[in-house]
Structure formats: C-alpha cells, structure tokens
Symmetry: C2
C-alpha cells in the first residue's frame, strides 16, 4: 500500500478566501514565517539538547520494538483482555488508536482473532472500575500499570485493587504473570516493587519522553500491539511525517504552519481550538490532541518569568454529528475559535443509500448516492459556510484511517505543539499547575506530611451557606 501523505489545507485562514477581517494576508504570513523560523530553531536546539525524546521514537527500529512485541506475544498466549491502568498521557494515545482502527463500537462486537480486547481504565472512579473487575475473567486478563513515577494516585489505587483481586483468585504467581509495568528505566515506585522481589514484566519509557508525547513509546505501543494493531506502521507514518517537517518554511512544513495559524489566532482573540474529525472513530484522536494542546500550552509563566496566562482551550467535536450540536454556536457565536477539521478521503467502508421513496423530493436526492459522499459533502459545506461568515478553519486531509496515517497525524500535532510553545515563549514540556491539586488531595487522603494542605481545604469549606 502506498503511504499517501496527510495534507494540511489552510486556505480558509487566508485573507484571499476568508476576507481581510479574519484572514491572514501576505504581510501577516511573512511575519509568521520569520517568527516560526526562529521557533523551529528553538525546537532544533531542544532536540539537540535531548529534551524532545518523542522525535526519536519513530526511529526506534527493531531494537526498540522487539521487547514490546515479545511482551505482547507472551500475554497473547493466555489473555483475551488487556486493561491499561493509566491516566492522561498514559491512556489517551492507546484509546485514540484503538478507537480509530477498531472502531468506536469495538467493545460491542467480537474482536478479530488473535487480538485482545483493550480497556483503558483512566479514572479513579469506583463505578467504572468495579464494573470492569466484575465483568472480566481474571484468568484471561492482563493489567498494564503505566506510570513513570509509580506514584499516580488514580493509577496506583487501581493497581493495588487489581493485584489483590488477581492474587485472591489466582494465587501470587499467576497474578504477577498478568501484570506489566510501563515506567521509568530506573526510578520510581514500580521499579522499587520489582527490585523488592516481585517477578513482574516491565517496559521502559525514555526519561525524555513526557506522558503526553508518549503514545509512540511502550506506553502506547504495548496496548496497541496487544489489541492487534500494526504498531510498526504507526512508527513508519510518524517517521514519514518527520521527514516532511524538517523545513523552516511554513509553506513546506504542515506542523509549523498549523502551529503558526493557531498561535496567531490565539493572539487575535481566538482562545478556543476545535479539533473536528469527520469520523466517529476519530473522537479519541481529538481527545488525545486535547491533552497535548492544553497541558503543553496552557501556562501561567513564560520562560523569562513573565506572567502570560496563555493557552487555547481545545474542544473535541465530531462531524457530521456536532453540526447538530455545536455548529450553531460556531456559525453565530463570538469570533473566538479556530476550527481544525480532519477529513477522510477513503472511509474504507461505504453504503449506498437506496432510492426508496422517489415521490418525496426532500429525500429522493439521497437515493443512489453513497453515505461517504454525504459526509464529505457535509464537511466541505460546513467549512464553506463558516468561511462565508468570516470564520477561519483549516483541514487536515487524511487519505484513509489506518495506522500509518494516524502515525503521521501524531507526529504532526506533537511537533506543532512544541513549535507553538517555542513561539509563545513557554515550556511545552512541564505541567506545574497540577501540583497544588495533588497536594491538596494528599492532604484530604491523610498522607503524612500533608496535614497543612488538609487544613487549608477544610478552611475553605463554607458548609451550607452557598448551597441551594
């Protein structure tokens, strides 16, 4: 199969097609070109300094893949279900690919032979997690604990509950066979548990690959290999896109152009970035992007210490579905959005709409046409209608939905994110803002050393005074 490229169409951001009010004219594009050439230099320097591990993942080769595939093979010999115990970046990538390739209805129907059913238990929600433990046969279920530090409260509470359940039902040895850790090569609690003598399989995440950039490491690849997906093709797609994203010229580098359009839109008051694939199976991809964009770019401080409070809020939408939910707002509401469509050239499956009621003219135009033609017409019409209202959009055109293409999209969006971070002058790799909530949680859970935090939360409790 030829690996056709994912293409970026930015016409509906250009003044020529969108009008001068919201569109970018040649002068604006030239300014962005200069700025993002510098951003690309920053990214290159970060890469050279070894900070951007995600850029190396597509090139891990057989040496990198072999332990992942071996572990998938081992588990595949006795497991039918694979449960990821992970949250955020340890969860969203696996879901994105499994949904894209297995379908949004994958859990409702039988899996292909040889593939494990993949569940991503990304919440410390007892309703959801108990339903999972109640319904899965422990003998046929593997649990993959994904945490670099081994201290993520949501994930570790699930690990403890799942391990106890396995030990009680199957005994220690059989329980440990069904566990896999994905963690730091040396540090963290999961390594300590193994060092203390538990014979548990383990895979490493490179220390320079942060959670939200980790889908193409063992974090995403082990679950996806177990679910029967072509992980080598994911890497090939990412590598292919990496080759196309070397240029510092906006018009030649889709990641850089996407970053430039997004950053510029944010500066012009568009604080919302909508990712809207025209495929139900790509909702997970939009949600994966949502974490990448929000956590990387939502920052209070610039690298120079200035208070900036930047960051577009990502919104995951699905076409054509959300034409009947969000489009009214996108068409008429505030001019506060940049919309990025994902369109599909070949849906892989199609249905012909039969001509059943020829006398009803409001229906008969559908007869004899394909459903793929309808959804593609809706994507085109929606972008055009928005442009007619002076509302900008861009489109990533996916030749099809397969592992190679998803790999391309992953790399494009990851690179776009760090380039946008460079232009905004912030660190796209950290997440200092979540620390306070974690500490207050420790306090409320009675963890030693966090008594002050518990007191702080209690002092904020107003009882019933603001309760209706």
């Amino acid at each position: 199969m030829a690996n056709q490229p994912v293409r970026l169409d930015y016409g509906f951001c250009a003044a020529e097609r969108l009008g001068a009010a919201a569109g970018l004219d040649d002068a604006a594009l030239a300014r962005l070109q200069a700025e993002f050439e510098r951003a690309m230099t920053v990214v290159s320097a970060q890469k050279a300094a070894g900070k951007l591990g995600f850029m190396d993942l597509p090139f891990m080769g057989q040496d990198g893949l072999a332990p992942i595939l071996a572990e998938a093979k081992r588990l595949g010999e006795f497991c039918e279900n694979f449960v990821v115990l992970g949250i955020g970046g340890s969860a969203l990538g696996a879901t994105a690919v499994d949904m894209a390739l297995g379908g949004c209805l994958r859990h409702a129907f039988a899996r292909p032979a040889g593939a494990m059913r993949l569940f991503v238990a990304d919440n410390s929600d007892p309703r959801m997690f108990a339903a999972l433990l109640d319904n899965l046969d422990p003998r046929a279920t593997a649990f993959n604990v994904v945490s670099k530090s081994g201290s993520t409260a949501e994930t570790m509470s699930q690990y403890l509950a799942a391990r106890q359940m396995l030990e009680q039902k199957l005994g220690r040895e059989e329980a440990l066979r069904r566990l896999v850790f994905t963690t730091d090569p040396q540090a963290g609690y999961l390594r300590k548990i193994i060092a203390a003598g538990d014979d548990i399989a383990v895979l490493s995440v490179p220390p320079n690959v942060g959670g939200r950039y980790s889908v193409l490491s063992a974090v995403g690849l082990l679950p996806l290999a177990c679910a029967g997906h072509d992980v080598a093709a994911l890497l090939e797609g990412a590598a292919q896109m990496a080759g196309r994203c070397q240029s510092p010229v906006l018009g030649e580098n889709p990641a850089l152009m996407l970053a430039a359009l997004a950053v510029e839109s944010f500066r012009r008051g568009r604080n919302i970035f909508v990712m809207m694939p025209y495929a139900s199976d790509l909702l997970g991809l939009a949600q994966w992007f949502g974490q990448l964009w929000a956590e990387s770019l939502g920052k209070a401080k610039a690298l120079d210490g200035a208070e900036v409070h930047v960051g577009q809020t990502p919104v995951a939408a699905v076409g054509a579905t959300d034409q009947h939910s969000q489009l009214q707002l996108y068409m008429e509401g505030p001019q506060d959005k940049l919309i990025c469509f994902l369109t599909i050239d070949d849906y892989g499956r199609d249905l012909t709409i039969p001509a059943l009621h020829p006398e009803l003219t409001g229906l008969s135009y559908l007869g004899g046409q394909t459903m793929s033609r309808l959804i593609k017409a809706e994507a085109t019409a929606t972008a055009a209608a928005l442009a007619r209202q002076g509302r900008p959009s861009l489109s990533l055109r996916l030749p099809r939905i397969d592992a190679n293409v998803i790999g391309q999209v992953f790399y494009l969006l990851e690179l776009a994110t760090v380039a946008a971070g460079a232009a905004l002058g912030i660190d796209p790799l950290d997440q200092p803002g979540v620390e306070l909530g974690k500490q207050l949680t420790y306090g409320l859970m009675g963890r030693q050393g966090f008594e002050d935090q518990a007191a702080q939360v209690r002092a904020m409790d107003a009882g019933d005074r603001f309760l209706i």
Copy 2:
C-alpha cells in the same frame, strides 16, 4: 428510596471565598437578582404562550407514558438491539441516560435480562454505520427513526439503508415491524411515508418541544424504556426539580442561580463553560448539556435585531481523568472559563484499596481507603486549588446516579438555559445558523433547486494552492 435533591453549591463564585477579583460580591448578586427576576418573568410568559413544551413533559403522566411503554413492550418481545437513527437532540439524551445508568462500558458486557442493547447511530459515517449493520442480527434489531421533519439527511440516509437491509433479509412485513418513527404528530416526511400505506409504528413529539429539549419526550423515553431504564423515575426527578425551580429568588432556585452565574461570567470574559462530572459514566450527560447550551445560546442576533454574537462554548470534561489532561490549562491559562463540577455523594459501587506495599510511603497512604474517597477528595481538592488561583467554579451535588437524579439534572439545566437566553435577550429555541451549511450540502449532493449553492461552494475551492 427517598428522592434526595440535587444541590447547587456556588460558594466558589462568591467574592467572600474567591476574592474580589473574580468573585461576585453582594452588590453584584443583587444586580443579578433583579435581572434574573425579569428573566424568570420572560420564561413564565413563554411558558404561558405554549412555547416551552419541555416544562410540561415531566407531568405527562400515565397517558403520556402508556404508548411509549407499549411500544417498548412490543419490541422487547422479539428484539435484543435498539438502534436510534437520530442526530443532535434526537440522540444525545438517550446516550446520556444509557451511559449514566448502564455505565460507560455497557457495550462491552452483557446487558441485564429483559433490557435491549441501545445503540445511538448519530452520524452519517459509513465506517460506523456499516460496522453496526454488519454486526447486529437484523432479526433481533429495531431501528428508531427520530426526526421531527423527516428530512434530516444523516438520519434519513441511515433509515433508507437500514430499511433496505431489513427488507432484503427479512421481507417487507418483518422489516416494517422492526421500524419505529418518532416524529411530529402531523407534519413531515415520516408521516407521509405512513400515510402512503407503510404500516410502521409511530410516536409523536409535541410540536412545542425542540430537539435539544426533547429527552423527556418519546425521543428519549422510548430508547430508554427499551434499554430497561426507569423512565417514570426520570420524569419524577424532573417534576421534583420543577417544583424547586418556581422561585424568582436566586438563592432559592438552583436553575436560575446557575443561569445567572453563567451569564455574568460570560460578560466578564469567560467565554467557556466547562461541565466536569466526577464520574466516567456522566460524560454523556456533559455532552448532552453541550448541545443544549451551545445551540440555545450561541446566537448572532438579539430578539431586537441587534448583532450580539453571544454564547459560551461548552466543554465536556471528566474528573478525575481530565485533571491529567485539562487541569494544567484550567489552573494557569487565560481567565476564560467557568467550571461546573458534578459531584457524586454515593457512587453505588465501591472498592477498598488494599495496603500491599506498606514500605512505600508514596503509596501506603492509599491502603485501607476506598476508591470513592479518593475521587471525592480529588473533586474537592481541584475546586479548592482553582479557587486558590482566583478561578471560579460551581458544583452540582448529585446524591447518587440514578434515573430520578438524572431527571432532576435535565430539568435544572434546561430551565437554566432558557433563563440564560432570556437574560441575554436572544431566542434560546431556534438555530438559524445551521441553515446555510444544510443548503450548501444539498447543493453538493445535487438536490434539485440547490444548483446555486453547489456553484457557490465550488467557487470557493482553491484547489492545491493552500495545500501542504
């Protein structure tokens, strides 16, 4: 079971707890009180004029429920699967309740005896819809076509494809037995199809109930009854909330207070409204709200004709999951959000976290505690952490997740939406902005009379000029 009320906690919007910068002081609340008393008068007038049919639905009684329950009984005798062919307001309510009560993993596991599996096919996506038709046994599957006009392209293309499949596999008579229409009492194409002689079961939606306010009509209740949910309890919960939402006093009326806080936050530059339930099973509820809020309030023009371009963009998030995806942005990004948490007092199920690694202090604090305590601590800590940064939030406290409680939430949010619309001076019941996209789609699909629209879209095509 006592029907405990859903409570609104707005403390973290008050200046006393949030600080003067972002919090509302007494003068601001008094101003809002005066404004929303007027808004409530507008709502009452609309109700008296018969425009707000959703306010009557909770009181339909046995007469209203009987035909719905009878139809569910008829189908239950020979069907195991119930497929909604509907989009937007014809889809989101059924999904919200089925996910809330059946669980987000409901499709992965066996359904309770006597309940049908509910699928909501809310997209004209051939990948998704073909997967559905490929995998469901047509003999055991009912298709519910939900469209007031009978001209919704996505829904009707699915109807045509599903009907032909049924007729080809089962013959005409058996095919028609497996179809149900939910539509206008008199008008529209679905009525014409029946009038032309097709013996198909049909339920009516009151003409004064718009799609996004229709979950408690046959639109939502038939699928939910078929899926084994207690639809009478949904109505009872809504009726209970209706009783609590009569007062024009903000401090006594949770719907009115929610509307006031949201409208005020929008005016203060918060153009994003995050709905964040701390339960994976309530994501569908947040998405249902997303349509209600976006399509009702996202408007270009006020009733007096002024160009206003209002509307908060709804974002559906899930706690604790999105603490590891969106919270960094919510904590440090622009001050552009109002966050509405949904918290749960009783999760219905729980798990005790075992004390397995007592030597690891970063884990041992979890041992012996429950998972519900952990997720509740995270909800409390997150709201407190946001408040510490001067970032407002409110909380809807749900006593549990059951049909009564979901019914309460539906009514509260529907009433809040029309009250917010009244305060904004726009029509919360129309959606004029989606018309252009529909017409351009007709053009691209070659519908007679829309040749101009096709030409308009083609004239906007720039070919490869903006393609990277």
